[in-house]
Assembly symmetry: C2
Homo-oligomer: 102 residues x 2
């Protein structure tokens, strides 16, 4: 039902959040997902980690799971709460979600 | 002559190569394209600038050209020539191309 739809987005098992660890940590996580039978994974990141998320997806498909494809990439903006008194032009942080399927 | 050719900055008029300048330089370039009648622009970047390219696209569509949409995002890997003797696992550099249309 509705819960079934949400579990696709929320289910932590096929979502990899890319942060400050080395690239290969996330590559390993992604490869593990696929080798454990997962057909679709979501690589998410925000801010400066977006570049790393793209690196991870590219490494996975070029070097490790060559039958996996990037099927969708979406970007968005998250509004930040803090930073009071900030006069920055852009008070959001960009996000990316890369969907890979095999 | 040690003329610093920024070949990355060249190209068709509706292509914006995101590099080391401040975000707003590229945002301005993109907004200018749209206000001059361009219906589609391509924002390209590689390596660490990928995050900035996403920022630029998000700023453009959220703040300046709100009827523009991100219609396509593709990623790729460019092989590096240099880096002799490098034993890095990943000798490519990731690239991104964000297509925006209005």
């Amino acid at each position: 039902m509705a819960e079934e739809m949400k579990s696709k987005e929320k289910g932590p098992e096929n979502v990899i959040f890319v942060g400050k660890k080395p690239n290969m940590s996330y590559v390993l996580a992604a490869v593990t997902q696929f080798t454990h039978g997962q057909k679709e994974i979501h690589i998410k990141a925000r801010g400066q980690s977006i570049s790393k998320a793209v690196d991870v997806a590219e490494i996975v498909r070029n070097k490790f799971v060559t039958d996996a494809k990037i099927t969708k990439i979406t970007t968005g903006t998250e509004q930040l709460k803090g930073s009071e008194g900030s006069s920055k032009e852009f008070v959001g942080v960009s996000t990316i979600e890369i969907t890979m399927s095999k």
